[in-house]
Structures are given as C-alpha cells and as structure tokens.
C-alpha cells in the first residue's frame, strides 16, 4: 500500500482521556498491544492477506489506464473543473465620481447579458440575462450592504477563443423613478432580484460594458495572471429607453427600446471594475509545505490538516492491529487514482475494490477510512494449470459412450479419471461411485442441437457444421456431439429425465394440510356436546373432564396423527418442526415487539405538528401498553403508576419529557380514565426518582 506510513505517530496526549478515546477509535496504535514473538509472526501472516487483492488491483489498474471507467472519468472531470481558472469581476459605484448623478440612480442593476440576434427594430436591442445583482449604495466607507456586484467569468483565454462565451456584456440598468421602493429591495436573492427587475418594466437608463473590451484591457495587465487584483475605472453611457421583458421560450430575455437620442436622455456613470483571477480550489496554508521541510514530530499534525488527506487504517490480525497510512488529494491507496472528494473516494473504493470492507469516518479533524479484508465472499478462484474452470460443474457426460469405453479401453478411463480428480466441487461426488464402478453415470446423454435445416436464414450449412463438430469433439472431453435432429420429447434424454425424477427431485412432504382437520378428528368426541344446548357451565365442566380423559387415552394416537403430516406456522407459512408442533407455544397470536416498535416509531414520525419529546412519550406509552396488554379502561390507573415507575429515571432527567407525560395524564383525567389520587401517586413516584437522582450528585 503505497501511502505515507504513519507508524511513527506517538500517542503523546496519553493523559487526556476525552480526545484520546476518539483518537483511539480512529487510529488504534499497534504499540498498544503487546505481542509475543509467535503472535507477531501470526500477525505478520494475517497482514499478508492484503497482498493478493492489492496485487490484483494493481493489474486491473494497469489495464484501466487505457480505458478508464465511467466513474474515473467523472472524477477526473471534477478535478479539472476544480482547477479551472476564472476571473472574478467586482463592480461598484464610487460616490465621489458620480456626484452629479446622485442617489437617484439606485436601485442600480448589474447583469450579465448576451445579445439575441433576432432583433428586428432598429432602435431596440434584445438580451438574454443572467446573474442579476442590485446595488443600492455607493461603495463608500461605512456602507456595507449591496455596494458591490460580483461575477465569475471564464478566464481571458477562454473568453477570446470560445464562441459560446464571446459577445458577453455587462449591462447596467438604473431605474431612477423607483427610488422610493429601494428600501424594500434590500437583501434580494438572485432569482428575486431578477423577478423584481423584470416586474418594473417601463422607463429606465441603461448602458453596457462589453466583456471583450474589458478583456483587452485586462490582457495588458501582466499581474493578473500572478493572482493580483486589477482595478480600473470605466465610464458608461446611460441611455434612456423602455424596458420590455420579452418572453421568448424562457423568461430571462429583455428588450431595450431606445427613445429619441438627445443630450438630456443620456448621462455618464463612472463604474469601478476590479478583476482578480481565482481558482475554485481552496488552498490552505499547509498545502505549501513539502514533507521534507517539516520535522517528523509535527508531520502527523500537518498531514491531518490538509484537506485532501485521508487516513487509511488497515485492520488485520482479527482487527486487533492496524497499519495506518495517509494519502493526498483523496487518492486511492491501492491504485493511486485521485478521486476529487471524500465522496468520490468512497464511491471509487466501494466500486473498484470490493475485496475489502470500508468504513468511512469524517470528523472535524480527520477523514479516515477503516479497511479490512472481506472474508464473507472469499473463495479461492485459483485453478490448477490445464483445467478449464468452465467445465468444473457443467460438462458433457455420455452414458452410452462411457459404458462402451470402460469395457474395452484404458484410454477412456484416463479420460474420465483426471476429470473426477480435478473437479473440486463436492457436488460431483454423488455420481462418482458410478463412475468408478462401471463407468456409467446417471446423467444426461450429451446432445447438441444443431442448426435446424428448416431455418432458411440459419447461418450454418451442413458442411461447415460437420467440421465444427469435429473440432469440438476434442474440446468437450471426448464426449460426442451427435448430429441428431431429435425433438426433445422423443430423444433418449427423455427416458433419462424420468429416471432422474425418481431421486433428484426428492422433496419434503410439502402438501399443505390445514391443522384444523386434525384437531377436529381428535376432539370430535366432545364436539357434539359443545354444539349442544347444554348450559355453559355444565358444558365447560364436561369439556374439561372429557379433555382430560381423551388426552390420556388418545395421546399416542394424537401424537401419531400429529406426526403424520406437515404443519405450518400460521403467519409465516413456514413448515413446523415436530417439537414445535408439540410445544405449548403457538405462533397464532405472537406479536413481534421489535417490529411493532419500529412501525410505531415510523408512524409517529409521519406527524409534522408534534414535537420530538411528545413523539418520544407517545412511543414509550404505545410500546408499554402493547407489551403489558393494557386493554380496558380499568387498567389505566395501574398502567400510569407502572409507567411512572418504569420510565421514572428517564423522565426526571429531561423536563420536557416529564412535562409531556404530565399533560398526557391530565388528558386521561379529562376523559375520567384516571383519578386524582393515582395522579398524585404518579407524581410522588416521579419525585422520588428525582430525589434518588440527586442524592449521588450531592455525595
């Protein structure tokens, strides 16, 4: 595992128990466990189970370089997108330079827009808008809100070359008349800003800053590419025009209709533009260290703080020991592929390295993955040389052929025997004896269905087919493919199938029998009397007597009858074992408490107008009532006291719960299900619980 080993890390904060426990859980140190030499050997050995899968994954990784998987391509794209450089442009108005315009230009909208070609009228221009921002103040000291509009646009290179992003404009719109409403415009979200902008159609002043020209001036700044900020001032001509929202297919288009061009309808605004190159990737100061510079003692600390660093704990020796490594940039420790994010890493690990189990941990300090080798699906797929794994279970066996061979040919035996020896499936054992004894096998005669000549477009003609059969003979271990056109029904295999049905499909007695018939037959002695018109008491008496007698007398017969047939659980319809049939317990009215609790909680979760504490009390009560079988009104007082007793300790610990419980008791009292005295008793019980809780604290 080619990550950075973290074995040097010492547990320096030994005394600090609080953080220790978590750290301990995350990175259990090997040094904690004292091992004898023998155990160490065993531990080494258990670590070596990692070798094989890692080896396999290295091979797969080498193959995947040519054609990376879909997931890997997605993650690669994410990494590229993260690293892509962009320009952040901030636009603001500076009060001093726009003194003659004054406050009346607010609200001042700044938008990114692209002209739409289908402009018909001469004096109008249509734009498709996005990212509207509102300025409500000059960018001056002391005014913080809504003084800047920030956009992120692609970098200069892309702006000049990519056709999709050229022709971009920054449009500024001022609606001087709407000054009064600007106070309400505070803190608009993006889509709200757009809708509020589109709402107030009518007269306005607007101007544009083409991004192309912006680019020209930005290209001159050498410092931009070095990450410095570039400031510039630009004068924008504002023209008076009428705004019309234009709903083409989407509602983000707008039409400016320019009115008469005279000096009164235009004015200039000085706009301050700041440009800065940004990369979407967040760099932390720790990223600039290289590992050589730092002393080993602080290495783990730095390692932990880097965003892309992930701890890998490899568990081995029955999870007693672990080896810890760190990888950078969310890399996979097995194939060193970068995975863009912790989520991406988890997807990659689960999908590409399924011979391991992974547990993912994220805390403020760590991103860690606990790795262990999967044992549940582990079966050896190593096959000895010269053996085709595909014929380990399914192969042709010829009843007819083999019998002949075993009589007169030693060669035939040599064909059969290696086969028997190499097939590891215990499965085949059943037919082995027959193999060895006389070479016959109770299996299907080999039979190949060839192309039916009646098929006009079948791609085999007779000649090529025969060749094919010949070539195949060797492949299928001497079993011959007979070029018959037998219909399945008439073929010899039909006979075989019948032979088979005798011993292969042996099944338990599965004919469903209703248990009630049995009962009826054993108890018909008293059934008549039960249905008679005798008084109930008499009937019951006789019933009891009769049962006693019939039990004694009919017990062996009863048992025999019960043994004779299969019984089933009434709910799950699973066959009952004999001991279950004779057992006292019956599955008929079993209540599954776990599931009932789960369903109750789920039902309560559906309520939206109930607090968490109320749900908790409801759940506890429902569960209590079900388990204690509180059925009648008269049970309620007892249930309340018992409930207080049972959950008292929990209740007194959280006042919200106790409050809910008391409200519930009041509700019961309202319905006259609970008397004041019992309520008082419950309060006393809870008080006692509270006191018991307090006592250990004081002492």
């Amino acid at each position: 595992m080619p990550g950075l080993p973290l074995a040097v890390r010492e547990t320096t904060n030994y005394g600090c128990s609080c953080s220790q426990s978590r750290t301990d859980q995350m990175c259990r140190q090997q040094s904690r466990v004292r091992l004898s030499a023998e155990e160490q050997l065993a531990a080494e050995e258990s670590l070596s189970v990692y070798c094989k899968p890692v080896e396999l994954y290295n091979i797969l990784q080498r193959r995947a370089i040519q054609s990376p998987s879909f997931l890997q391509r997605c993650l690669q794209y994410k990494i590229q997108a993260k690293r892509k450089r962009r320009i952040q442009i901030t636009i603001s108005l500076i009060g001093g330079q726009n003194a003659e315009v004054g406050e009346r230009i607010f609200p001042f909208y700044v938008l990114l827009a692209r002209p739409i070609d289908d402009t018909v009228a001469k004096h109008s221009s249509a734009y498709r808008l996005s990212h509207p921002r509102v300025l409500n103040n000059f960018n001056e000291f002391g005014k913080k809100d809504e003084t800047e509009a920030t956009f992120v646009i692609p970098d200069i290179k892309k702006l000049t070359t990519d056709a999709r992003v050229n022709n971009l404009n920054i449009i500024v719109v001022s609606k001087g008349e709407l000054k009064g409403g600007s106070g309400e415009n505070h803190l608009l979200k993006e889509h709200e800003a757009l809708s509020s902008f589109l709402k107030c159609e009518g007269n306005c002043f607007w101007g544009k800053i083409p991004v192309d020209s912006l680019c020209l001036s930005l290209e001159k700044c050498v410092t931009l590419s070095l990450g410095h900020r570039t400031d510039m001032l630009s004068a924008v001509n504002m023209q008076r025009s009428i705004v019309q929202p234009k709903y083409l297919d989407r509602n983000d288009c707008i039409l400016f209709q320019t009115q008469d061009m005279d000096s009164t309808s235009t004015f200039q605004v000085q706009v301050s533009i700041c440009a800065q190159e940004v990369a979407a990737i967040e760099t932390s100061p720790y990223d600039f260290y290289s590992y050589d510079d730092i002393p080993t003692s602080s290495l783990p600390h730095v390692i932990r703080l880097r965003t892309g660093n992930v701890l890998f704990n490899y568990r081995y020796y029955n999870n007693l020991l672990q080896k810890t490594e760190v990888t950078e940039d969310f890399s996979c420790p097995f194939c060193l592929v970068k995975c863009a994010s912790f989520k991406g890493l988890s997807f990659h690990l689960n999908s590409s390295h399924d011979l391991f189990n992974f547990e993912f941990w994220v805390t403020e300090e760590y991103q860690a993955v606990n790795v262990s080798v999967r044992t549940d699906m582990w079966r050896s797929e190593v096959v000895p040389d010269g053996i085709d794994p595909r014929v380990q279970t399914f192969f042709y066996r010829s009843n007819f052929k083999r019998r002949r061979r075993s009589k007169n040919s030693v060669q035939a035996a040599s064909h059969v025997h290696p086969h028997v020896l190499v097939s590891p499936e215990a499965a085949i054992e059943g037919s082995h004896e027959e193999y060895d004894n006389n070479g016959t096998c109770s299996s299907q005669r080999p039979h190949a269905y060839t192309a039916d000549t009646s098929l006009t477009n079948g791609c085999n003609d007779g000649g090529s087919y025969k060749d094919d059969v010949k070539s195949r003979k060797s492949l299928v271990r001497g079993a011959q493919l007979l070029p018959t056109k037998n219909k399945f029904e008439n073929g010899p295999q039909h006979r075989h199938a019948e032979e088979y049905s005798g011993h292969v499909l042996s099944s338990p007695d599965t004919t469903g029998v209703c248990g009630s018939t049995t009962q009826a037959s054993t108890s018909n002695d008293f059934a008549q009397q039960a249905s008679g018109i005798n008084l109930a008491s008499q009937n019951m008496l006789q019933f009891a007597k009769m049962r006693k007698i019939s039990d004694e007398r009919a017990d062996p017969r009863n048992r025999a009858l019960l043994q004779k047939r299969q019984f089933f659980h009434s709910h799950r319809a699973q066959p009952m074992a004999l001991e279950q049939v004779f057992a006292d317990r019956d599955s008929e009215d079993e209540v599954d408490d776990d599931i009932a609790d789960f369903e109750d909680r789920r039902m309560l979760d559906d309520f939206v107008d109930v607090t968490k504490d109320e749900k908790q009390i409801m759940h506890l009560w429902n569960s209590f009532v079900r388990k204690q079988r509180v059925l009648a009104d008269g049970h309620i007082p007892w249930a309340c006291e018992a409930f207080s007793q049972l959950h008292g300790q929990n209740l007194v610990r959280s006042p919200a719960l106790i409050w809910c419980w008391k409200l519930f008791m009041i509700k019961l009292w309202n319905h006259s299900l609970l008397d004041a005295r019992t309520m008082n008793n419950c309060s006393l019980i809870l008080e006692r619980c509270a006191n018991e809780n307090l006592v250990p604290k004081q002492s």
Partner: protein, 368 residues
C-alpha cells in the same frame, strides 16, 4: 402522480432500427409442446456465462451455448409433482460457489437445485400461491427474492434455507406480485410490481440485522424469527394496468405494463416521509404488439441493451442508456409466431435467446 409539463415529456424511442448490430437466427430447439415461461443466462459466475437454463411445465433444463450457433443440453430436471408448472428461474450460488438453480411456479414451492450434485438442495415452502418471479442478489448470490400470487414478496437465504423477510401487509401489494428486482448497488433496496398496477420500492435497512443473522443461524430454519416488512418506502403509480416486469437501471427503474412500452423512470423518494414521493418519467421504449401480460424483458450484464419479445414472436432490442432510446434491432422469423414470454441476453449482448409459448427456444447471434 407522474410529473408533467413543459420540458418534462419523456423521450420516446423511434421504431426505426439503427442496425448498429445485426442478429441472425442460428438455431432453434423444440423442448416440447408445453410453453416455456423463463430462460436465463448464468450471470452469477464468470465461469458459466455461456450456460443458460429454461423452465416449462414441471421441467428445468440446463444448456450451453456453443460457438457456431450450437446449443447443447447439459442437465434436465423433472419435478415429482406432475401438475407443477414452473414460471420462473434464477441462477444463484452457495457460499462456496456451487451454482444453484432456483425455480418456482404454480405450486408455490421454490426448488433450489444444486447443479453440481444435480440434486435438490432445498425446497422452500411458504408462499401461499404460485411464484411469479425469482431474482438473485448479485452482491450476495445466496440471497434470493421471490414474488408471488399471494401478494407477498419473500427474501430467502439459500445457504441456510431460511425465509428471512416477508414484504407484505398493510402497505403491501393489493394483488398478485408479478415481478421483483434487487437494486444493483444498494443492497437494502428492492422493487416489486404486480397486478395492483403499482411498483413498490422497499428498503430492508432496518431489517438488515436479520439478514445477517440468517447466515449464522444454526437452529431449525422454521424457528428463525421471520419478519414482516409492511411498508414500502415508495409506491409508484406509473402504469394503469398490470405491471409484469421491473428492473433497476442504476437508481432508475425500468418497468413495463401491457400498453406496448417499457418505461424508464426515476423514483424521487423523500427521506423523512417514507411512502411519499414523485415519479419522473424519463424515457419510453415502444414495443408493438406487446399487450398481453407476463412478457418479461432481459438485459445484458451491463444493462446496455434490453431484449423483449411480443405477442407475435418478434423481438425488439433497445439501447437502454442512450437518449432518446435507440432501437438496435427488430428480430423476426417467418416460423416464429407464438408469444415470446421471456428473452435472455448473453453477457455482452451478442446472443439473444427467446423462449416461446409453443415450447421452442430460438437463438439469435450477432453477425459481424
């Protein structure tokens, strides 16, 4: 329930075949007069990708697809019950990798056949009526799920023979369950559909301890605390008639009813309130003359394409993951006229098998 509106119309595939791949009939086998209801390649074990099995009547037959269009019979099993009519089968395997064949049908008894020993491994009793479909959990191939006419879906452990969970009850299906499928990556999730016109998505996350317990259970299988999962996480009304086949395509669902199309849709479940959610219908794959129920489609291993037969014996091969969907090929033969109940696509989609109601198996191979 399904969302509709501007920009939300599903992409419907065109019925003109792109002829990206051409298929030709390479073989035909008559197994008997009785209808064949299911045919399936073994995708569970890489050694046996060319092995397939069919069920029909009380018989299960195992074949191998050989090169040059040949089909070889390997094993045949006949159930002791004469009146059994198997409707479905699925390949599975034991913990040690022995291939299992799991078949179920009208009697409601699920037969697990060990193809290695050629003996019955176990028989699962529990369903109160016929079993309509069995599917294997590819992530744990000793788990199978069965859909039954008794309106329930059951999860079984082949290794220990335990019925682990029953998906039925208050939120369960209201009529026969016709089809069921495991989510390919979310091991807790299954989808089922049936004659109540709904597709239900179930989660066994809360019940997973029981699944784990079933592997280590040493007592009698019938003593296992089988649990009922009563409420699905999502009920989708995508179709307005019997839904007879459903498969997961990633997190999306492919399902078909009797209205001549397969529908691809996205279930949008809400985490907080199970049972609620919306359906976004993404794509439709038209299949003409496919208006009788119990016709199932099959996909290749990577779900790149799907093949489905119709009432007239034609097969439509759709490219699943392109948008709009593209018809790869339309397969028909003058002598194949009876309804195709089920198809089987080989691992890479180069071979398509179909089983017909007249008891014939047709093999189609790509022509290079």
């Amino acid at each position: 329930m399904a969302k509709s509106g501007l920009g939300c119309e599903p992409a419907v595939g065109s019925l003109t075949a792109s002829r990206k791949r051409e298929y030709k009939v390479s073989n035909r086998v008559h197994e008997g007069k009785r209808p064949l209801y299911a045919i399936a390649f073994n995708f569970i074990d890489a050694r046996y990708y060319d092995i397939f099995a069919t069920v029909g009547g009380n018989r299960v037959t195992v074949y191998r697809c050989l090169e040059g269009g040949l089909i070889a019979v390997l094993q045949a099993y006949v159930d002791e019950e004469k009146d059994e009519s198997f409707y479905t089968l699925s390949w599975a395997c034991d913990i040690d990798g022995t291939p299992f064949l799991v078949a179920g049908g009208s009697n409601g008894i699920i037969r697990v056949i060990n193809a290695g020993t050629e003996k019955i491994h176990k028989s699962f009793v529990g369903h109160g009526d016929s079993v309509n479909e069995i599917r294997t959990q590819a992530l744990k191939p000793s788990l199978v799920v069965s859909a039954s006419k008794d309106e329930s879906v059951r999860l079984w452990n082949l290794h220990t023979g335990i019925c682990i969970l029953i998906f039925a009850g208050a939120g369960g299906h209201r009529n026969e369950v016709l089809s069921v499928d495991f989510h390919p990556s979310d091991i807790y999730r299954i989808a089922s559909c049936g004659m109540d016109n709904t597709v239900r998505i179930w989660s066994m996350k809360e019940f997973w301890t029981y699944v784990e317990k079933s592997f280590t259970w040493t007592d009698l299988p019938s003593k296992f605390p089988t649990k009922y999962v009563q409420f699905p996480v999502f009920i989708a009304s995508v179709h307005c008639n019997y839904v007879d086949c459903t498969r997961w395509l990633g997190d999306f669902v492919l399902s078909k009813s009797v209205d001549n199309e397969i529908v691809l849709w996205e279930p949008k479940t809400k985490e907080q309130s199970p049972g609620e959610g919306a359906v976004d219908i993404l794509q439709k794959y038209p299949v003409p003359e496919c208006d009788i129920w119990f016709i199932k489609f099959s996909c290749d291993f990577h779900y790149n394409s799907a093949a489905i037969g119709n009432r007239e014996g034609k097969i439509f091969v759709w490219e699943l993951q392109s948008s709009p969907p593209g018809l790869i090929a339309r397969l028909s033969h003058a002598q194949c006229k009876s309804p195709i109940r089920q198809t089987a696509m080989s691992f890479d989609g180069s071979t398509i098998l179909s089983c017909c109601e007249d008891g014939s198996i047709w093999r189609w191979d790509t022509v290079s």
